[in-house]
Amino acid sequence: MFDFLGIPPQALFGQLLLGLINGSFYAMLSLGLAVIFGLLNIINFTHGAQYMMGAFGAYFLLQYAGLSYWWALVMSPLLVGATGIVIERLMLKHLYKLDHLYGLLLTFGLALIIEGLLRNEYGSSGQPYRIPEQLLGGTNLGFMFLPNYRAWVIVASLTVCLATWYVIERTKLGAYLRAATENPTLVQAFGINVPRMITLTYGFGVALAAFAGVLAAPIYQVAPQMGANLIIVVFAVVVIGGMGSIMGAIITGFGLGVIEGLTKVFYPEASNTVIFVIMALVLLVKPAGLFGRTA
């Protein structure tokens, strides 16, 4: 048997797979950010809070309405997406013409308020949320024990990511969206309701975050700060992938999950910082990100 830098190959496969699983959260979240930035030009700092709201949504639906995980997987993104639409209609739409900084400040402030309110009400230790019965247990792959739930997370997130990419890059609706980003006035002249399209896009991006939140609920504690811890990393992922690039966000999401996973084996102390080191390096060499186009 060959060892790779002192790590037996079996352990290495396990770590690669875990990296992919964590990467799938990065991918889903950075995808939402990329879609929102691409079409609205808003740097959505509320994204982490919306991911957390998704998880809390699942918890509330179970606690107060008795609705199972599978219901939550559909309902929670819809509900959180609806709150996103309200935010877009009431606040964000006034900011499109202004500098990025205003959108960033507004969404950052919203995130702090939402997290603060939930922390006040539910504390920081978080609420338990159980893995749905159908996905309990796991499979022994030989090189590692893969919990069924984690396998489901990878499948669900890959499906959602690829579907989103397909809709935006390969369908007529996606073509309208992309056209509206380039020149909203012209697209509106063709009789397409651009403001409504933008509102729905924001709602969709937010729903994506909430979907990731529901997927995360059984793995982590459902806690108010769960998004704040993640969002910084996700921003780094978007910057590395290139702002506004859909495929870039997906690929870098999974890729960086793997790199982070490997760091946890070779030098665990750096596992929280490795992504930022990579970000710095990428920015030095390719300021627009790996998949970004320079404007």
Partner: protein
Amino acid sequence: MKFTRTMTLAATVALAIGAGQAQAQYSDGTIKIGVLTDMSSLYTDLSGAGSLLAARLAAEDFGAAAKGMKVEFVNADHQNKADVGSAVARQWYDVDKVDVIVDTPNSGVALAVNNVTKEKNKVFLVSGAASSDLTGPQCSPNTVHWTYDTWALANGTGTAIVKTGGDSWFFLTADYAFGHALERDTEAVVAKNGGKTLGKVRHPLNSADFSSFLLQAQASKAKIVGLANAGGDTTNAIKQAAEFGIVRGGQSLAGLLVFLTDVHALGLQTAQGLIMTEAWYWDANDNNRAFAKRMAAGNKGIHPTMIHAGVYSAVTHYLKALEATKNDSDGAKVVAQMKSTPTDDALFGKGTIRQDGRKVHDMYLFEVKKPSESKAPWDYYKQRAVIPAAQAFRPMAEGNCPLVKG
């Protein structure tokens, strides 16, 4: 209870009328207690606002107002950053005339505040932080380490587990002062009892995903996976260990520092069977239950942890010392007074403070109940053993504290 409150109120009114006569002994007329804690992150529930409330209750029950002592409270969030913590401490001591800082979970922050307090000759009563270095190489004439420490945890839980056959260990360690101290102290206990350490991995504070680390623990084939971390890190690690079948695979988890609030967050289904060492449990006797009732009422229903109880006990003893010395300006003298009188309060009973600043009392080994054994919310522990005060903490001679002579 109502009686106490009415009395306190009456006393406050009386004091207001006769104000100004008995306060001149205290610097600027006020005893100012600063509760420096985690108000926004992973240690909030186990200390946080509850610690502030516990300190207030201590002053209220002590009848400070009736005794002519004007006590004020301030609190701040150290954000688990040592630089933020020491900046707040300096500001408090220099500008805001704070006389004593209490609580301070997070050993990294506590070690920093320990130095600032010594430099400014104030008082530091640690309940939240765990590193046994606070009464070891870093001991200070201005600091009392109240509730527990890494040595006591390692000694209690580590010994119990090695003696029941858990003789090979793998550590998941939070990568900062506290985790390192807990890992070091536990490793020593394991070795002393004939066990061995097969490996360790150090994870950053406040990690969400432990799967990588758990896989390494699994591969080590160690019988015991020792969690040298706390708060949200511990709950996430335990939850994910269940997911990855660590326990089903024949390995056992040892939560070296698990708090009541962590068990509450995990739910008994996941936490059942965990063994841990603690200094205090709310359901142990009537005094504790009465305290828990007041704490829960004022803190969103959260039942008090041993840290909250320690804050209460420490503030009580501090006020007693001030009542005797009538002077709060020389921190080292106040602490000397605290050390020279035995401690005695409703929650911890009788105890002493050693020369190295270690408060000494019994510790307890608890086991988390099965869901079927728990009769009410927050009914989580059953007691497995009492570790008598004389054995619960590191012998003074082994601590390398410069204050201890000979």
